[in-house]
């Protein structure tokens, strides 16, 4: 090997600092998604400072005003400011999405790892998961909500229970393929304890697919919360959430379309943003899958 080619090699091997412009050019959709998502988060956090009024303030004289300079998104049948309600509604959707994503990946990780490493437990757990998975997620969440009173915590728990089986299956699949790998066999042969194998060798390898899955769960949880609230089985009506606002606008949608359109638009944009981030993460973390999908 000549000196020149070695120089070439070192030139390639050293990672050049990546400029912001490079990132934007290579993944325009991811950047768009993250920007949109950050904007939604900022809106949720800064809700009181964005020209909003009390989202629950009734004003019967000003009912059903169409969008105008004073009421950007109009007012609903009780005279409440739809703009303020939509801005505050972002808090509910993002809280539910994030909480469900974290909780269900954490629980699914534990269940999947236990199932992947113990055959008798696997047989029982996976039958339970198969059963839960054959109940469509929204129906499962509806059924659980019918048992308890409407509150945001209960919505989070109900959606989490509906999402856990999928994560468990994913983690179990990864664990089953990893435990046959030479490096796990080697660790076992040298007498490493099971929990140490799980923590050192299995866990790090499940993280990439788990993060991607977590993003998609966040998107689907945001939709499920909106569906539950829309059907009257989710967030209590005294809290403005996008699903609730749309549910209240339902009977009036022929005269006051804006009550439904604005929350629906924000809901879709948020889910779109989360999905774009998820697609981007998948492409980055799993190049094999990226080419296929």
């Amino acid at each position: 090997m000549t000196a020149a080619s070695l120089d070439d090699l070192s030139d390639i091997a050293v990672a050049r600092p990546v400029s912001l412009r490079d990132i934007v050019r290579r993944n325009p959709m991811v950047v768009a998604g993250s920007t949109l998502l950050l904007a939604m988060v900022a809106m949720a956090v800064l809700a009181p400072y964005l020209g909003t009024v009390d989202p629950q303030a009734l004003s019967p004289i000003r009912r059903l005003r169409p969008p105008s300079a004073q009421y950007w998104f109009g007012t609903d049948m009780l005279g409440r400011d739809v703009y303020s309600r939509v801005v505050y509604g972002a808090r509910i959707s993002l809280t539910v999405g994030l909480s469900v994503a974290i909780l269900s990946t954490a629980i699914g990780l534990v269940v999947g790892m236990v199932a992947g490493f113990s055959r008798p437990v696997d047989a029982v757990l996976m039958r339970v998961m198969d059963g839960l998975m054959s109940i469509p997620a929204v129906l499962l969440a509806i059924a659980l909500m019918a048992l308890t009173k409407a509150s945001i915590e209960n919505v989070i728990v109900a959606i989490t229970i509906a999402e856990v089986p999928r994560v468990s299956r994913l983690v179990r699949g990864v664990v089953l393929s990893l435990r046959e790998q030479p490096f796990v066999e080697a660790a076992r042969a040298t007498g490493t304890r099971v929990w140490k194998i799980l923590a050192r060798h299995i866990l790090p390898n499940t993280l990439a697919p788990l993060i991607v899955q977590g993003t998609y769960i966040c998107a689907s949880a945001i939709i499920t919360e909106a569906i539950l609230s829309f059907l009257g089985a989710g967030t209590p009506p005294n809290i403005p959430s996008w699903g609730n606002i749309m549910a209240e606008g339902r009977s009036l949608f022929q005269v006051a379309a804006y009550i439904i359109l604005f929350p629906g638009l924000f809901l879709s944009l948020t889910v779109l943003a989360v999905n774009l981030v998820g697609d981007g993460l998948r492409d980055m973390l799993d190049p094999r899958l990226a080419r296929r999908m």
Partner: protein
């Protein structure tokens, strides 16, 4: 083949048992004592005890579950708390619109999504491909009720092409029935179309890179023949699997779509039951939907042998 069928059929039993256990626990854990409700305000403690005994509510959990399961197997899903009618009859009354909507949506979706995916894979990297992929991402992101209202505003209220809401039974003739089905099927099919178009494209891309496709091309077959005869046929197994799994999405969507479009089907029955906390109805609907989901996926597993002769059982 027969042995496989039997084994596959037996494998659905534990799954349905878990569903049944979950559904039963729902009523068992539900707040409020049915005996107190039935007894009314004037019931004494002895009356309530007698009703509990008559309903078998004093029995242990396993006995109650066994009795309930036996009734379900015989088609008795209990009595609705609110209307006092048998749940199985209520479900039968409402099943037609839901079945019609689901079948219309599935047909529409498959007719649209599979060609979309094939086209995107064939023209991979071009603007057609990008358009299909963009649609797939958007389809995943727009919740069914948002799509539904957008379609109503656009095609019914603004363009005045189709009815806004409602349902006309198929027994009134196909031309009376179809207009009411267009918008709900489009709205409900959006996510499903996105999913199937995406998996069709992925599966086709995988197959199109195979040697036998190049051989087929080089021996002078037309692109159409290669795409449909060689590629799509071999790419069909993942597509059909996704059609089956996606049915869960479709069922979840049905509940919402029926509310948006005022279709008197099982979804509306469920929503009304939630608002009234009518647990036997919620139980019955979940059982029916889950059983349908499990059965369709069982059928699809059996179909594999026809799609791919290499799969032997």
């Amino acid at each position: 083949m027969f042995a496989y069928l039997l084994r596959r059929l037996l494998a659905t039993i534990p799954v349905m048992l878990v569903v049944a256990l979950f559904v039963f626990s729902l009523l068992y854990l539900s707040p409020g004592d049915p005996a107190v409700v039935i007894g009314g305000d004037t019931a004494t403690a002895e009356d309530i005890a007698r009703i509990r005994e008559k309903l078998g509510l004093d029995q242990p959990f396993t006995v109650q579950f066994g009795t309930w399961l036996w009734n379900v197997v015989r088609g008795d899903l209990g009595i609705s708390i609110f209307t006092n009618l048998p749940v199985s009859r209520l479900i039968l009354q409402r099943i037609e619109p839901t079945l019609a909507l689901t079948v219309c949506t599935m047909v529409l979706t498959i007719v649209v999504a599979v060609p979309m995916g094939v086209l995107a894979a064939w023209k991979v990297g071009t603007w057609i491909d990008r358009l299909v992929m963009a649609f797939a991402v958007l389809g995943f992101s727009f919740p069914v009720f948002v799509t539904g209202y957008l379609l109503i505003f656009g095609l019914s209220i603004w363009a005045d092409l189709l009815p806004v809401q409602g349902y006309v039974s198929i027994s009134n003739g196909l031309w009376a029935f179809l207009p009411n089905m267009v918008l709900p099927s489009l709205a409900l099919g959006m996510v499903y179309t996105a999913l199937i178009a995406r998996i069709t494209r992925a599966s086709m891309l995988e197959v199109l890179s195979q040697d036998y496709i190049r051989t087929a091309h080089s021996k002078g077959l037309s692109s159409g023949k290669v795409l449909l005869g060689h590629a799509l046929k071999n790419a069909s197994v993942p597509i059909v699997t996704t059609i089956g799994i996606g049915l869960a999405l479709l069922i979840s969507g049905v509940v919402v779509t029926e509310s948006v479009f005022a279709i008197p089907g099982l979804g509306r029955l469920t929503v009304d039951a939630i608002l009234r906390r009518d647990y036997p109805i919620i139980q019955g609907v979940i059982l029916v939907f889950s059983a349908a989901y499990v059965m369709v996926n069982l059928l699809i597993d059996v179909c594999y042998t026809f799609l791919d002769p290499r799969i032997r059982y």
